[in-house]
Symmetry: C2
């Protein structure tokens, strides 16, 4: 509590020395608007961003980037001074480590507690946190009662307290909104991360840069990859000693359960360290949350409220039936593709043309594999729309319900054909070849989509830009003209034309946007299914998956660091709906593996004395037994490590004591009176 | 916060007007010691009870009951003054409703908050709570470093900080320790409870009198009875329209899952209202908990500590194998009884003597049904011993692990023979008759054991006591003598010979002790198994169970109110291991009912076109489907009702704010300095 760091406070200024632009503060977030936006609307938006909280504003600093071309988009650079940042940090309960290394909500009043190890006030809030603070404030820009529509766009009606920024994004006046990368930090991180060989990932640095949600993905991927080592070894052994496969597949099933239970512990451990473990559905609503202002039941503050039962009604009465119909349609499509393949085979036998038959047979499955991604993309939009409409309060809830819908659909797309082959056609050879093809093809396609496609696009973009520049000699004059045309209208500071932020903003604007972790998890999910659902049929799958994942960690890291625009950090306390999705797959794998063992001719030849009936009974018993073991593992392993439980209990105890103390302060007199009676 | 109730504080005295004994305070707890206890030991114990906290004492008031006969046990009446009661109430975080009707930890400082609706200080802590406060303090009487053994008993070694009272109970110097009934309250309650016809139970009054643990049992029994109405109606329909049984048994399985999930909600609701919902394994240890003094990781206070891993090692490496061995032995015993019955049947056919055969056949099952309760009783002791030895920290943990062991064993005793008959012998008729017999016999036996046996014993006791009195004319003289002999030795207040508390203490001392809710739950558990495991075979079981339970509620209430000694209240937040036990039974019922449907000749005759194999497949699919439905119900129904979640979140929010506030008070200066810089 000494004054050792207090001197640093003088350096709080919100100004940073950015090249020659000493007087303009750092850009945290860049907003791009369509080139032909009505000036009124632009002016209104800027005033909102600068405006006071009480006027629905965000109290942020806006800087305009000079336009070099009228056809170019308007670009706003958003910043804030340190006081604002600290205020919001306290408001959104940013978690920081205190001097005892425990995660605590940051408050300005106890700033000294967080200024440890020679940290200065400027180091206290990381760049990523500043960006997310800006996002939070932008998201809270609200329409006032008398603002019935966006100025200049009478058709864009606003209701009271509507979140303005998401609305403008939705109506595509705002085309892009993104934080800027920190190239120095990225370079530092790369050495420990995707450029390193076999070291552990720098989880803390990743979390500071990309936020909890993305880091949880990488932590899960690492944990899963490590867990794959055992099934991979067993799979390799299985290819050598084929008679041990039954044992291995039983073991795998137990291993999967163990892995998922242990991951839950690990995840809770991380969530505790990051201070996200206490997130609940009663936390702050997402900006898109619709409702009317009311007193919050938990905090007693006035904020948006919407009855939860309407969300439930929409979920169960509308979304669920729609999702089920889509799943049934996808199932029919799959059946249709298999049937038409059979049909094509029959036709060709009659006609006898060899070459055309080979081609024709491939037509249904080719058409199917082209249609599926298209349908998936449409369904993704549908699921997002439905979940948005359900109006979930928090981002975590929103994501959980969106992911659940998508996973159900993708389950049908990816796994149902395997079930069909395994249990209806009962063709083990076809199943094995299908597994092999799908595993290898899907992994290749994903890696291509993820890394090489954006890499290529990037390259192409850069080239075309260069050509553009070369063919356009008038740029400089136009730039100045545009700058002049703009500045008197909008009375805000402008960046100088040679500010290096302009180049960075433009470069990163051309990068692809990183939507969320869904595609990355989905890739693992599908792989997980291919490896474990039928591990008795194709045990080597685990080995290929392991190899792939070692590369995957690096590919994903590389992709995020260099190929995508930076995204805002998202908090989350766990991997959300994915935990349950993987668990369901784990449970199903018991059913499928026992089923495959029963169907396998290998087993039958080994127990020739047993009738079909007895074998079926035996594998039914095995399945029930494994389900029992799974349940036992589930209840024997506690969700949180002992130390996390103790730490949480301590915190809750301390808060309870503080509450007691506060109350006792209020009623001190009575104690005194009571004692004097004795 | 006005002074409206402050005048009541003057009435705080700890003294109550009990007949003529105005100067002696109310008896809360009675302790009985063996008649021939060493005077030194008695003196030591009394001094301990009166002694200061720092000397390992309890700071309570002790009164001696005059002995009428040297062969009579020593009887101590324990009391405490109001200040002591309030102090401990705060210390053990007694939950009380505050003026807003929310459960809050009681503190003396905010006493005004709890004095609502004209309550006086004397009404604040119920009699049951006072008794449990006394128990808590008695339990915390500890041996000091220099107290190496109980005075007068050199062989009874004590270690430092050993809990004295449980030790003396264990060594049988203390024979009984019980709180006194409140006859007025009991009479009032009876009218609403077991004497009423079909009204709801007075849950709040029961909770105030008997505590959370017993009340949860009654709440569960009521909830279960209500839930039984639907299966009972279906069962009745089933006996009329026999072809609908398959549908009913499938429905039952889903009903059971729903019932258990909804009960969890109900139970959490009650736990919230009672303020027990926050109980964790890190709460205050039970008196029997052994360990060394250390700093508690949660509260930072110095209290007993023992490493948790030793408990785990003992549980998994010692207790678990022992329990499994016992289960296997019980299983063999069951098999042996069935085999010997078969064997007897065979013998008799050869010899041909009709009457002796009928008798002989009954011998194995009779012997078995006599042996089982005996073994069960022994196993109960073993389980209690093992769980004690595992050294669980809290009472809830202790009970959960004890109940788990017992339930596993009782499962084998009660249900395994049904499984054997159903799936090994595959004799549906035998199964049905077995179910009928066991259901009716067990319910009759239980009701007899519970109500009529104690009723008879009580009657017998009273009679014999009367005779004793009449045949002993010297009593009065002896009484006076004994009183004189005693009083100079023990320098403590004595009750007057005509104090009506003496009669009450003696009467209640002769009542049976109510151990815990285990036997009551077990009865329901076994009934639940008989009703749902094979509901497709004997659907009317639900109806008999419903009838029985309507009586059961009243019988159990009557028993607790009149036949048993009052027990100390036990807190609990849920029904502990029973929830899981019922859930496992619910899960198994899916398996058994599908199995029974497959085996039923009825089904076979209805689908003559299907092969055995196809039928088996069909019922396997049905089982998997039902398991899936069960899982969906499980995840769709939240464990806590929305309002409880909101209330908990609000409380946690308030405490967090208080903690923040407390911290900010500490660092106020910095805020000021920081603001001035701006």
């Amino acid at each position: 509590m000494s004054g050792r760091q207090h001197a640093d406070i003088d350096s709080i200024s919100g100004l940073e020395s950015v090249g020659e632009n000493v007087q303009l503060p750092t850009t945290y977030v860049v907003i791009k608007l369509i080139p032909d936006i009505q000036e009124k609307a632009l002016q209104w938006l800027i005033e909102k961003i600068q405006g006071k909280k009480t006027d629905g504003g965000a109290e942020l600093i806006v800087m305009l980037q000079p336009k070099t071309d009228p056809r170019e988009e308007y670009t706003l650079h958003i910043s804030a001074n340190m006081v604002k940042l600290l205020e919001v940090a306290e408001d959104i309960e940013l978690i920081k480590m205190d001097s005892q290394g425990r995660p605590v909500e940051f408050t300005v009043a106890q700033m000294d507690d967080f200024l440890i190890d020679g940290k200065k006030v400027d180091d206290l809030i990381t760049l990523a946190e500043r960006q997310s603070i800006i996002l939070h404030e932008l998201g809270n820009i609200r329409a006032l009662t008398y603002e019935k529509s966006v100025p200049g766009y009478p058709s864009m009606k606003l209701y009271e307290n509507q979140a303005v920024i998401p609305f403008l994004q939705n109506r595509q006046l705002i085309t892009k909104m993104y934080p800027l990368h920190d190239e120095e930090q990225l370079k530092k991180m790369a050495g420990y991360w995707y450029l390193s060989r076999l070291t552990k990932q720098p989880i803390n640095a990743i979390k500071d840069y990309f936020g909890e949600s993305i880091t949880l993905y990488f932590a899960f991927l690492e944990f899963y990859t490590l867990a794959l080592i055992v099934p991979a070894i067993l799979g390799l052994c299985g290819t050598i000693f084929t008679e041990t496969i039954p044992f291995f597949s039983v073991f795998n099933v137990i291993w999967v359960t163990l892995f998922l239970e242990l991951w839950k512990r690990k995840s809770n451990e991380l969530a505790y360290k990051w201070g996200t473990i206490g997130m609940t559905s009663l936390d702050e609503p997402r900006p898109e949350f619709r409702g009317i202002m009311g007193v919050d039941a938990v905090t007693g503050k006035v904020c948006l409220q919407a009855p939860r039962y309407i969300t439930y009604l929409r979920m169960y009465l509308v979304s669920l039936p729609i999702v089920i119909v889509c799943m049934v349609l996808a199932y029919w499509l799959m059946l249709f593709s298999i049937w038409s393949e059979d049909y094509v085979k029959l036709i060709e036998i009659e006609e006898g043309g060899m070459i055309s038959k080979d081609y024709l047979i491939m037509v249904p499955s080719t058409v199917y594999s082209i249609i599926i991604p298209v349908i998936s993309a449409y369904f993704k939009d549908l699921a997002t729309y439905l979940t948005e409409w359900e109006n979930h309060r928090t981002q975590s809830q929103f994501e959980r319900h969106r992911v659940t819908k998508l996973v159900l659909f993708e389950f049908v797309n990816n796994f149902l054909c395997l079930f069909y082959i395994a249990f209806v056609l009962r063709d083990v050879e076809m199943l094995r070849s299908q597994l092999r093809t799908m595993l290898i093809v899907s992994q290749t396609i994903y890696n291509f989509q993820e890394v090489f496609l954006p890499l290529g696009l990037n390259h192409f973009h850069k080239k075309s830009q260069k050509i553009n520049k070369n063919t356009n000699p008038e740029t400089q004059r136009q730039k100045e003209k545009a700058t002049e045309a703009c500045s008197p209208l909008l009375n805000i500071p402008q960046l100088q034309a040679d500010d290096r932020r302009i180049k960075q903003a433009e470069n990163e604007s051309r990068l692809e946007e990183y939507q969320d972790t869904f595609d990355d998890y989905l890739e693992l999910y599908i792989q997980f299914g291919f490896v474990f659902l039928f591990s008795s049929v194709y045990p080597i799958a685990a080995f290929w998956a392991l190899l792939n994942n070692v590369l995957e960690i690096r590919a994903d890291a590389f992709k995020l660091c260099t190929l995508y625009r930076r995204s805002f950090i998202r908090k989350s306390k766990d991997i959300g709906a994915w935990q349950r999705s993987f668990e369901v797959l784990g449970g199903l794998s018991i059913l499928t593996n026992c089923g495959m063992l029963y169907l396998s001719p290998d087993i039958r030849s080994r127990f020739p004395d047993y009738s079909d009936m007895e074998l079926l009974m035996a594998f039914m018993c095995l399945e029930q037994l494994l389900l029992g073991v799974r349940y036992l593992i589930h209840i024997a392993i506690s969700d949180k490590p002992e130390w996390v439980r103790v730490a949480l209990a301590r915190k809750s105890y301390e808060s309870k004591q503080a509450l007691k103390f506060e109350r006792s302060q209020r009623n001190k007199k009575i104690l005194y009176r009571f004692r004097t009676v004795q």
